[in-house]
Symmetry: D3
């Protein structure tokens, strides 16, 4: 058995099931054309896989299951159209369509739009659990509609997500009041970072479960939901963020959610420190797999 | 409209009101001759302005005002006397005197003495809300009276601050008992970092409001009040510090304070990580402007 | 008096008592052959001593004693057998045997086994307060029994530690269920990181005091007990860790414990940021000395 | 007079001539959508301006002129179309058209195509002195024709550059033989990095002068022409590069060239070290201005 | 086709020939138990593979062959015995024995001893081209015979290398005169770093060719042969080293050498900057493959 | 014997001769109040001592003497007056006066003025070998006469140095022509960095020897003489600098110089990379001691 530092460079050093038969697929999406501030999320998939080696040596102590019992295929990275946002989103959507249950590693948040399009074509509108510092419901970003601040504007407009089954956690960035009001008026539930700090993770998990209920749900985790002190490796950090212990305490309480897919996005390794941001992202993926293994 | 990464290098990429008519002035003070440990705070103004670009794209979600509605002039950096503490303090005081309502970006904490001298010449003794890991009431620092551990010793001795209207938040460093006792005996209120953690931000804000009351007050924010995990870019870090979410939650509750000026000091970018310390400082300035815009 | 940045490179810039007569000895152990992930803990002793200069300027505000009143000798670093784990442990044990009350700076966690062997030869089995992200009770690590994940398996097997007087704080890593069950079945008390976050430091301290009681106890502090955001400079980080304010709040409440020795291990400076991890380790040593000075 | 660390954030802390009347304009182009490897060149303009403060304190000792005697306007950054390569190139071209003599700070190398289009519309085909590790004459980059490896393919195809007056210096990257052969067959002169090392800067300068002759020429300087040890802050480093002393020795020997404009591109500050890459870029701009001031 | 930043994490993003039939095998050896200064070479294989993506896009302009035409298998990393030098060397030797023509990525220099044992068992004593700052002919390192300063002492003692066919390039570290004299007395040719700088790469290549002649030869490249400015990511840097352009100019002139295998060792990524050291190592591997493809 | 990573934190891990009887003294001078750009040279002494551990394991291969045969005392750091340039210079001068033959580790270049005052009081005016990117003969720096750009203006004015026996190597920064002309008019010999590159180290050494002749000489080595790629850890870097191999090749050729003292200054560790700058400084000190041991 390899020590963790010598594991192969796939997720958890394994995930070698055949894509055709695997229950779960993992794919990297090295796309960062939609970022509005610091670029570099294209290197996220590599860094998150590398950091995941830390998690390959045992079961999750919450529930005592080892996600490696699942049938998981690491597909490598999706192909993209260099320098072309629209064409890249089409390619992502096409590649995602073939996956039964996909865990995607971004890449910037723009990619979630393509992933939701692929998913909902198959199973219809989903609930959405969205961790982020930003609501990402801007109609455009400095004139560009297909950018990382807009995926959920389009997802809501296109009917990919049921707004009454959509909850945002960790929101705290500056934003135009009109964007906020539009989001709330659609029926989206917003739990700000300060609310999460004051109410505690158990209460937040309860609120999420109430919003989602029995519906199929998608988890979209922007790593900047987490505080920059624990996740500096990202493009648009905002102070006052969630702590990783809170995130993990929330996620492990979502045992009853019927998840249909997930992504973790916006890891920009050039700004990371000793891979702590990538490790946070990897641990979130691993916790998601744990939830699947327990259910 | 410029995306955030392409904003001009003034605070928030703007603040171009005329200094003569502006309600608020922002000035950098690239001074670090008074530091007793790691130097480098002279580069703070540049880094804080650069980090502020992240905040230029919308309103503060707490209160839904955008500080950019205010009339603010970014004056650039004050001139200083290279290598000469006393002469630099005189130059700082002289330049600050002309500003109606000044927000200063340090530089080390020594500069606050000059800023308080300029301010109180105009409006008399002020209340003081002082965030810091250190009480900064040493009579001297290793023999040097005008250094970054002494501004409030002199401010109290010179009658610039009303000690019964002075509250310190985040204090936790090693210090001689005599320095502590002197400070308390003058009537200063100290809220240690541990107390802030255990009592929570709402209670801390309440205590601050009780101390300050109706008096005009000055905010002096040493970035090392914040924990080194969230603000490593500083010269004299101490573990166990405040979290940024707590700082923001406290500040936004100070709506009724009649502020007369503020500074944020001790950002040393050479020790920062992906500009998270500079972003914390910029966000504190932005929150202060928000409070002004709301009142 | 030297400013902190110019202190001599021993712990606190001092600790110059004679080893023969000193009540307390400090020794570095630059050993990292037992690490299973990122190496580099061999540079821990140097970095922790360097960071300790920040703490040399005053008393601990908790209790208002200055640990520098104690009679402490900084012995420098222990000699080791390059590239040979077993021989190094023997050398560590031999050198530790001569110390009345030893504070050791690691080095990786393997060294604690040698330190406990030396200590218990003199005073018999001890209670153990063990801060860590990992239980370190694996029977072996990827085939190697004498590695940094196994010191407490051997310590328990060899009867060096009384398992009913052993408490682990901060545990959260992936681990085989069998390792966990073996640990608990021996009678060890485990306080997970999530429990510590939810219960708060006063409650955690109470639980520790209940476990330890009147017995002599050893403190073994793996720096990865602390969250990677505050202590990135380590080899096997795990997200969701303790915060330094909690650690300090717990330690200062252990006033009644009869400590017989301590170590702080796993600081890997190559992964640190602006020496914040080393400062955390130094402050833990300093807090431990404070407890001794108060008793 | 400000010490260098306190200079305003424009090039050399000055360059405040009016754009309408200035002889020379400096503009940043924060564009990095065309990069094929590590992104981040969008932050180049800010970093290069910041680093230029080092050069504001005296004359160039080669020739003893101070470029600050020239009439230069720093225009700030050009506006761009977020996420859209073609639209951005159009905006760049339009903004560049108004400048009499432009010095541009990239941004990735794609931007040079737009700059040459703007320039040659005014003065016709130019000679080209092109420093780079890569020939940048690929017809497309992974399917994208408008990317940073292709500007000179298009410039040659569009007749913007006279291939017999075009010389490339520092070339050394892997490349398809067909791309190389196409370039040479057009008449372009290539001086590889190894040739530059062996022949020395005086000989290289001589060869450049022979190629360019009396023609108007443009200087396009990709910072990756310089060795990664001296210019790590870039997206596609290649070992074995030119040394900065050679670059400066070559440039200062180009006194007789009739320059019509220049750019320095591909500085990616997230990969830089203590701003040495940005300083190299700033010094190249400063040397170019010196040449203008001497002529 | 993937852009370079999205290549799979094997060498050059490919090398997928079957190990049984491949002409060349690449293997990582994540071993660093033999280092005497900074540890971390265990992470070398991962970093070198990652950096190699930069080289996957074209032919080597020296000779215009693309090493990807060769039949190469990337075997992943060799297994090792955690914490046990002797057992690890045995495992390395055993795994290397099965490879027809092996290119190994260290790991520290100790591993070369095992690799030479495996190779010479098959083909008898070899000539040796050894790039290094250190002669690595110490009989032991601080008491440990199997460490990274000793592989060639043992290789010579065991008759694995023909000392008259052995040449060292780049030597410059402090060393006991006795070690130097022993090495020279065996017949080894030493070319110091200063000699290489003064004589130039063509002359150095000539001297190497003279020493090696027609014999089968092994290339062992310690990355610290290169100057710390270009290769900071290593454990025992020495100033005054070779430049990468010189290294490449030497290697490409070794066309007539009959190589039987090679390694590049001592890349310690924790000390690297923007992966420039890893890129140097990857380019050396790539140049070696180019030599094979040309012959 | 300690491996290099575990050496005590004095120069070379030793230098424990008694200051009273030692032939050579080493002292750190943690002073950086005179810097005009990036601060941080106060941490130089610590970093240089730490880096020197690399050099403690053998003889200098140039001449095969081990400087550790000399009688050397490492005095630790000189005391200073915090925040007060003039008083600090007096303290430095006083402490230096007692040393027979002093090797000083800066600190910024201002300190050399004090060191020369102390030295020449004892032995009269000296020759000066001055490595630097800057001539440091400004009459003042932004109004401050006692700053790091002025020591040699004062040294010449005060008659501490014989200008006809003074040679500067590596000069290349921007500077006012008047400063240059004043320096040359006094009789100082200037060898620019470009001249050093083109003429080679043997010729440079010859020119130095010609200038110095039989006179007693002082070596003042500003680390920014070296190129920023090899010595990024400094406050006022300039591209195009000397290479470390050249510096070493020059110094070792100064065997006949009658040295009376030396300093190495301007190492600012916060800007260093993997301690390569500190290592360069330590190696220069070690080479100087080697010259003493050979004579």
């Amino acid at each position: 058995m390899h020590p963790t530092f010598a594991l192969p460079p796939s997720f958890l050093g394994g995930c070698a099931a055949s894509p055709e038969t695997a229950e779960f697929c993992i794919a990297g999406i090295p796309f960062d054309l939609g970022v509005t501030n610091r670029s570099g999320a294209r290197d996220g998939p590599h860094a998150v896989r590398r950091a995941s080696r830390m998690l390959a040596d045992g079961a999750n102590p919450v529930g005592w299951v080892d996600p490696q019992v699942l049938s998981v295929a690491d597909l490598g990275d999706f192909t993209l159209a260099l320098g072309d946002i629209a064409a890249s989103l089409e390619q992502i959507e096409r590649q995602a369509t073939g996956c039964r249950h996909l865990l995607a590693i971004g890449g910037d948040h723009t990619v979630t739009l393509a992933l939701l399009r692929a998913l909902t074509k198959r199973i219809g509108p989903v609930g959405l659990i969205h961790f982020d510092a930003h609501s990402d419901t801007w109609p455009d970003n400095f004139g560009q509609p297909l950018a990382h601040g807009s995926p959920f504007f389009h997802a809501l407009e296109e009917g990919l997500v049921d707004p009454r089954r959509m909850v945002q956690v960790g929101i705290r960035s500056p934003m135009p009041k009109a964007v906020h009001d539009w989001t709330v008026s659609r029926g989206v539930t917003i739990i700000t970072a300060e609310e999460a700090h004051i109410q505690g993770p158990a209460a937040v998990a309860e609120r999420i479960l109430t919003v989602i209920g029995e519906h199929q749900a998608y988890l979209s985790f922007d790593i900047d939901a987490i505080d920059p002190g624990q996740a500096p490796g990202t493009g648009t950090p905002e102070i006052g963020g969630l702590f990783t212990w809170q995130v993990m305490a929330i996620l492990q309480r979502l045992k009853t959610v019927r998840f249909a897919g997930m992504d973790v996005v916006e890891v920009a390794p050039a700004y990371d420190v000793s891979e702590i941001t990538a490790l946070a992202a990897a641990t979130i993926l691993w916790q998601y797999l744990t939830l699947q293994a327990r259910s």
